[in-house]
Amino acid sequence: MSSVLIAKGLKKSFDIRRGFTVLKLKALRGVDVELREKEILSIVGESGCGKTTLLRVLARIHLQDEGEIFLLGKRVEKKLSRKEELEYRRNVQMIFQDPFSALNPTKRIKSILERPVKIFKLDRNLIEKTLEEVELPIDTLQKFPHELSGGQKQRIVIARAILPRPKVLLADEPTSMLDVSIKAGVLNLLLKLKEDHSVSMIHVTHDLAAAKYVSDRICVMYAGLIVEEGPARSLVDEPLHPYTKLLKLAAPDPKRLNFKLNNTGEPPSLIDPPPGCPFMPRCPYAKKECAQFEELVQLDDRKVRCIMYV
């Protein structure tokens, strides 16, 4: 299977000013991602692990400090001409986390969906067809965003993203602002779009169960690094990295009663993080050697950043 989008060694840090000292917050510390054709790859992690930063770097909202991005086998330079930038965005579209603020409240849905048509010079009939694909009635076009429910708004955001028929969709927690009762509908829509448009998708989420349901492969991120990567089913059913195990145990499960996880600490600060395994301070299996251990171990079709699997 060929790859659609490849990122190698992505690093990104943000400046934080404390008085006259400038600290570097290292949001991405060398991340490799490979998105294959017609695949949904989920990036799972807690807030502050760098998953949104990764997505924004891939969407070119932020530019990486170090590392390279390849789209359809072609290297994407950090500096692009306007035409190349437009071409990149036509191929890589983003679905935002919060549909309530991603739509301009003063515009009708019609003009919101006409924007990509104008910018990318698309066929106007595509609007109605796309609206049908996201399972909304045609009269939605005449409405304003506030007249729609959260789930309907998110469908409009998705419709806007698939209008230019991109090769890659970047979905930033597309269901986290939605109610449980409509979450499943949006996830099923993403699965349908993958089939119908053979689009590849990077889906960022903190919900391991949703990731298992929707994706082909999963990457688990922690403190700006990928700590585990593998096929969705086997990763969730048999997690290898202690952090993935913790994430799985923390998910609520009504079938399991009287289970205790206790206090398990919190993620480290990303300002001047120490070398070695970032999960070490919270890890029940931590050893002295972990303080130096940084490599990603390959095990068949899975990768894990943990000394136990050397």
């Binding site: 429910s149 979450k183 509908g185 996880l261 919190e266």
Partner: protein, 319 residues
């Protein structure tokens, strides 16, 4: 039975004024919370959960209003009390843990001073005794004593939420109401907060109400479960029974829409549609538009909450 109840809500109607129209967010809600009971209230956003809680605590401010109904706490109707009498009950007899701990702590006071404030207002204690109580309470929720002088911004989201929980328990109230205490938190932190609440409830023996949109959290810790839809309680019963055999089609849908991390992948379904307009009066069942098993009678006649099996209440014409 009646004497045992810590909280009784009778036919509460509340809502908001919006463009001179009344929007009914809480419609004819009755419920009771027994001694050491743990009631979970679940429903999607906009179903009136928070309005219900605010109305119970008499915290609903304009444009919100309470039209009718009684809230009887420990034998006293809260809406008959004067402001001073009510103030005396707050913190001491019942307390409230709001949704966003970021906004509920005072950013310019350290946590010791904020907690001290609560104690000194309600109890005659020396500062020394109060400080001991604060340290003990913080330790109980898992915050080391050396953090008492921290300001809210120096704590992480999970720790702030723990501080608010510690604060709500300072004066050993009879009833604690948690309004989505974990919504803004990560899964792992959420898990530890939920466990903490559960553990404290067993230890301190207070009654609790836990309001959330994420029904999966409630199955593990609550004793009773109430499902709210469009301002009404549509189902009520012991938690395990509701989970194993949900009666109302809305509850069935909610449970089906939960993804499971264990076992086989099954397709999980959503409930299409949205909440009805709460500014209109609803003649039939409020869930009619979205219901899979609707009948003709559902459109015409409003289903009342009935006890269909011992302890199981449901508002649906199917039963």
């Amino acid at each position: 039975m009646k004497v045992m109840d810590v909280l009784q809500v009778q036919n509460l109607n509340a809502g908001y004024m919006f463009k001179k129209k009344k929007v009914w967010a809480v419609r004819n809600v009755s419920l009771n919370v027994g001694k050491e009971d743990f009631l979970g209230i679940a429903g999607e956003s906009g179903c009136g959960k928070t309005t219900l809680v605010m109305a119970i605590l008499r915290l609903l401010k304009s444009p919100g209003f309470v039209e009718s109904g009684k809230v009887i706490f420990d034998g006293v109707d809260l809406y008959q009390l004067s402001k001073e009498e009510l103030d005396r009950l707050r913190w001491k007899q019942f307390s409230y843990v709001p949704q966003s701990s970021m906004n509920s702590l005072n950013p310019v006071l350290n946590i010791r001073d904020q907690m001290m404030d609560v104690i000194l207002r309600h109890r005659s204690m020396t500062k020394q005794e109060a400080l001991q109580l604060i340290v003990d309470m913080l330790q109980l929720v898992g915050i080391p004593p050396e953090r008492v002088k921290s300001y809210p911004h120096q704590l992480s989201g999970g720790m702030r939420q723990r501080v608010v929980i510690a604060m709500s328990l300072l004066l050993s109230p009879k009833l604690v109401i948690f309004d989505e205490p974990t919504t803004a938190l990560d899964v792992v932190v959420q898990r530890s907060i939920i466990e903490k609440i559960f553990e404290l409830q067993l230890q301190k023996r207070f009654s609790a109400i836990f309001v959330t949109h994420d029904i999966s959290l409630l199955f593990e810790i609550t004793k009773h479960l109430a499902i709210m839809y469009a301002g009404e309680i549509v189902e009520y019963g012991p938690t395990r029974e509701v989970y194993e055999e949900p009666l109302h089609p809305y509850t069935v849908g909610l449970i089906e829409s939960l993804p499971s991390i264990y076992g086989e992948l099954k397709e999980y379904k959503s409930i299409p549609g949205r909440l009805p307009d709460l500014s209109q009066s609803i003649a039939g069942c409020s869930f009619y538009e979205r219901c899979r098993s609707r009948m003709d009678v559902c459109r015409l006649e409003h289903p009342g909450l009935k006890e269909v099996k011992p302890g199981r209440w449901v508002a649906c014409h199917l039963y």
